[in-house]
């Protein structure tokens, strides 16, 4: 309040217009009374005016605010556009969501790659590496032979040709084509391929040069003529050969002329193909084997010699052997220049029936040159070693070492030299092995006819007949092999006699024998045995060997019929007794009788009854009536003797009585029903009604709620036919099968035979199955998906763990920087 003490303030306030009216009054009042303050006031006034005046230019203009605002707006627009848009973008929910999702995916990927597991979203998929099979064409620029069988596909398509080719052909007579030459585009040697019939055609096909074609066609035509001549027969052969030579020469020149063209074509083709060696340097070993069936061995050999000499070859070896039937078989090995091989083979065709042919072409070029270079190296090595030897002075051990090495190298050299020599020899000459054998080589020299006769007789007096037979045999000068007279326990006599008689007298003897008694059986056997050979032959002799006669004589009484009967009855023992009684009443003899009881207490009976022919039918009827006839057959019906009545022939009847019978028919029936137990009970009821035998019955309930009932019955077939429909009515028939057993000797229309029926009743499958069905599938799917989620979560966690430290470091740095910046700005407080 003290104005004087705070005169500056009062002055400043006053000057700025900050005094209230009251305060101004006070102030001015004071000024009026204080000269000191009045002076200061004056100073202040001047100073203020000066300062204001001096600094007036720096006063902001009146529109200062507007300008500032305008400037602000401008500035905002420049920055703001960017910023606002950016802000909005950042703030956008969708963007948040999308970036969160992207971040998750990225994390999953990172985590996945960190843990090495596949995260399911594979952004990088390793391309499958295809491995195209390497197709390296190995071209042999030598002649390639092929034949019809293997076809020309190799050549046509220019496919790779293998180093070693083995082509074999089995041909039929006449139409054989040992080899057809084709040069394709790979002709190398300027040697003539004689255009054989088919070969020429093929050659034509494959020639790539027009010129060559023309010339070859001409040569081909000539070859046609030649062929025709050839087939006219041996006599013409010489002429044919000459013609052949002429035409082949022409063909040679033709191909020679054309072969440069061929060569060009070949070269052109080789451009696209690796050709490691120049054509002429190829080393090929050619071999062939032929097999002929000829008329005459020697003549054929001579022809071979002739042909091979024509082709500038020679016969290396021959050997032959003669067989027992006079036929000759042999082998001729010829050698000739490889280029002539085809011609030679062609010529050989006419030799005879070509049975087999094989051609091999072995390209040993690589091996040859390898060996050659190894050989050269070895030689150089030898030289070096020699040098070393000369240089070595004094040290004995060194000398020995060198010597040892030299010896080794020398050995190698010699071995390789040998190989090369051998190869040279093989290459220089093609080797053809010709096997010849004369026609019908396997024919037997002779046939032996062996006859055998079996005769059995009935005689009233066996001994007498037997004696007589022996006498007859001796009279016929037959050789008695065996003679026998047997008496068995029942006093029955059997006589046998085996003789060997000359063929001429055989028939007579046989008819004599037949007179001895009543003929039971007579059989003849004839065997033709080939001698020294096999197969058939028209020219072989047929010799008749001695005839064997086997004679058997039995007593008249032995004549009989023989039959067997099987009867099924439940009361076996009763039946057994009954038959015995019946037999006795009819005067029949019970030869054997047996009553068995098997392990299960089942009875079975066997009887053999001898009944006279007269009584037999009646007796049989009784026997059949005892039960159900299962089988009945007659084994023997001996003819009644000349004198005897048919009815007198006794019958031997074997009767089998049994309870059991094999099942004739099986049926399987599968029924679906909701009330399995009820159905099963009903079925049992039906079975009881029909008198069927219940073999087994069963009921069970499975884990999945399905019920199954089974019933096994046996009943006669005819009853089964009415029983089954009843069963079918128990539910829905799912399956029904019937099987019948084939029984020989069974009585026709065997309605009484047993049939077995197997019934299975099942309820529907449970809806909620254990292993399949909707719920299980759902469960599985959910669990799989959950697995996948867990996996992804794992990945995310791993990724975060990995990124975590980084982010932490970044955050720390940022925070740190912020702090520094914050510290730098001091807030101005007014």
């Amino acid at each position: 309040m003290d104005i004087h003490a705070s005169i500056n303030e009062w002055l400043a306030a006053a000057s700025a217009g900050g005094l209230s009216a009251e305060e101004r009054g006070k102030f001015e009042a004071h000024l009026a009374g204080c000269p000191e303050c009045r002076k200061i006031h004056e100073e202040e006034r001047v100073m203020t005016a000066a300062v204001e005046g001096v600094l007036r230019p720096d006063r902001p203009e009146g529109d200062f605010e507007e300008r500032m605002v305008k400037g602000f707006r401008r500035g905002i627009l420049r920055k703001g556009f960017f910023r606002e848009g950016w802000r909005k973008f950042i703030g956008n929910r969708v963007v948040h969501f999308a970036s969160a999702a992207a971040a998750l995916v990225a994390l999953v990927q990172i985590g996945g790659s960190l843990t090495g597991e596949k995260s399911g979203i594979s952004l990088w998929s390793a391309p499958e590496s295809f491995e195209k099979p390497d197709r390296t064409l190995i071209v042999t620029a030598c002649e390639v032979t092929e034949n019809n069988a293997s076809g020309g596909e190799d050549k046509d398509s220019g496919e790779p040709v293998l180093d070693v080719e083995k082509l074999s052909e089995s041909s039929t007579r006449g139409r054989s084509m040992p080899s057809s030459q084709s040069y394709g585009g790979l002709a190398a040697k300027p040697s003539a391929p004689p255009p054989g019939p088919a070969g020429g055609a093929r050659l034509e096909k494959e020639q790539r040069s027009a010129d060559g074609e023309d010339m070859l066609r001409e040569a081909d035509g000539k070859a046609e003529n030649l062929r025709r001549k050839e087939f006219r027969g041996d006599g013409q052969l010489a002429e044919a050969n000459k013609a052949d030579r002429r035409s082949s020469k022409k063909a040679e020149s033709a191909t020679r002329a054309s072969s440069p063209v061929l060569k060009d074509a070949a070269a052109a083709e080789r451009q696209a193909v690796e050709s490691p060696k120049p054509p002429d340097a190829r080393k090929v070993i050619r071999n062939a084997t032929l097999e002929f069936e000829v008329e005459n061995y020697d003549a054929s050999v001579e022809r071979i010699i002739g042909i091979v000499q024509e082709e500038r070859g020679f016969v290396a070896t021959t050997n032959a052997s003669r067989l027992a039937n006079g036929k000759v078989r042999g082998e001729v090995v010829v050698k000739l220049p490889p280029e002539n091989l085809e011609k030679f083979l062609l010529k050989m065709r006419a030799l005879g029936d070509l049975k087999n042919q094989a051609l091999t072409s072995q390209d040993v070029t690589k091996y040859y040159f390898d060996t050659d270079s190894r050989l050269r190296n070895a030689r150089k090595m030898e030289e070096r070693l020699l040098d070393m030897l000369e240089k070595v002075k004094g040290k004995v051990s060194e000398l020995l070492e060198v010597e040892k090495e030299m010896a080794r190298v020398r050995g190698e050299i010699e071995q390789m030299q040998g190989e090369i020599k051998y190869m040279d020899a093989m290459i220089a000459h093609a080797t053809v092995t010709i096997v010849l054998y004369e026609k019908d080589m396997n024919q037997p020299a002779a046939y032996l006819l062996k006859d055998k006769v079996n005769l059995s007789l009935f005689s009233a007096d066996v001994e007498k007949a037997h004696q007589e037979a022996k006498r007859l045999a001796e009279a016929a000068k037959a050789q008695i092999l065996q003679s026998n007279l047997k008496k068995d326990a029942n006093g029955r006599i059997t006589a046998t006699l085996s003789v060997l008689v000359e063929p001429e007298g055989a028939e007579a003897l046989i008819s004599n024998f037949r007179e001895l008694g009543r003929e039971s059986t007579l059989t003849r056997e004839s065997e033709r045995v080939a001698q020294d050979g096999s197969g058939s032959s028209d020219t072989a002799k047929v010799k008749k060997d001695k005839v064997t006669i086997n004679l058997a004589i039995v007593h008249d009484d032995e004549a009989r019929q023989q039959a067997s009967l099987t009867v099924v009855t439940k009361a076996v023992e009763e039946a057994f007794d009954r038959i015995k009684k019946e037999a006795a009443s009819r005067g029949a003899e019970v030869v054997t009788s047996k009553l068995d009881r098997d392990g299960q207490g089942e009875a079975a009976g066997n009887l053999v009854i001898r009944v006279s022919g007269k009584e037999y039918p009646a007796f049989l009827g009784v026997a059949k009536g005892i039960g159900r006839v299962s089988e009945y057959s007659v084994q023997r019906r001996d003819r009644a003797g000349k004198d005897a009545e048919k009815e007198e022939v006794p019958v031997l009847l074997a009767i089998t009585l049994t309870r059991n019978e094999d099942t004739l028919q099986w049926s399987n029936l599968l029924i679906q029903s909701d009330e399995v137990e009820k159905a099963l009970a009903e079925a049992k009821g039906f079975a009881g009604q029909k008198g069927a035998e219940i073999l087994s019955s069963n009921f069970e309930r499975a884990r999945n709620g399905q019920e199954t009932g089974t019933l096994h019955v046996r009943l006669p077939v005819k009853d089964a036919e009415t029983f089954v429909p009843n069963l079918k009515g128990l539910g829905k028939v799912k399956d029904y099968t019937v099987k019948r057993q084939d029984r020989p000797n069974a009585v026709a229309a065997d309605d009484g035979a047993p049939a077995e029926i197997s019934l299975v009743v099942q309820s529907k499958e449970s809806l909620i199955a254990e292993d399949s069905g909707f719920v299980a599938t759902l469960r599985k799917t959910i669990s799989q998906s959950a697995e996948g989620v867990m996996r992804s979560v794992r990945h995310i966690v791993v990724a975060i763990a990995w990124l975590g430290p980084w982010l932490a470091a970044i955050a720390l740095a940022w925070w740190f920087l912020r702090r520094r910046k914050k510290g730098g700005t001091t807030e101005t407080r007014n």
């Binding site: 306030a13 100073e43 807030e827």
Partner: protein, 186 residues
């Protein structure tokens, strides 16, 4: 800060450019004064004002308490003004610089042609005198003497109480009297 003002500031801080413009209008001169107190040049001071407000807008989120708006804004302005001074002459050793250089330093680019020596000298003296004032007072003084605002306007703008303002102005007057009277009277 009273409620209306607070509300204005809040709106502006929320990003409403219009509200911000209002603030520009209201506090522009004060910011100018603050800037001028550092750069001692009108054009430069205006540039600083612009920059300061834009910067303030850009980093408005960093101001947590709207009540501190003025002081926050002024500190921004001060920083910007210092940047401007540094931009003029990056390496300035005011201790070594002779008075002539200081003079050049102070005059901003684009000034009017050289004034009469008296006036220029006086300006210098005034600046020097004002520099001697406490930092907080300078803007107020500038508002009074350069911008020519009256007592009430200053009070509104600065939010200072009556007594505080009187005290500041009074002290400033006293200093100026001592410093400048010799020159003025001559």
């Amino acid at each position: 800060m009273d409620d209306t003002r607070r509300r204005d500031v809040e709106m502006a801080l929320a990003g409403d450019p219009l509200a911000w413009e209002g603030l520009v209008r209201k506090y522009g001169r004060l910011v100018y004064a603050q800037a001028y107190a550092v750069v001692w040049s009108a054009p430069d001071a205006e540039d600083v004002v612009q920059e300061a407000f834009l910067k303030g807008y850009a980093s408005r989120r960093s101001l947590r308490d709207p009540g501190n708006f003025v002081s926050w804004m002024l500190s921004i302005a001060r920083n910007k003004a210092l940047d401007a001074v540094r931009r003029r002459k990056p390496v300035v050793r005011e201790a070594d610089a002779p008075e002539g250089a200081a003079l050049d330093d102070r005059e901003g680019a684009g000034d009017a042609p050289a004034r009469p020596l008296e006036v220029a000298e006086l300006r210098e003296k005034i600046f020097k005198a004002l520099d001697g004032l406490p930092e907080n007072h300078r803007a107020v003084v500038i508002l009074r003497y350069i911008e020519g605002l009256d007592y009430q306007a200053i009070r509104e703008m600065t939010g200072l109480s009556d007594g505080a303002l009187r005290g500041i102005l009074g002290r400033a007057l006293g200093t100026l009297r001592i410093e400048l009277m010799p020159y003025v009277m001559s």
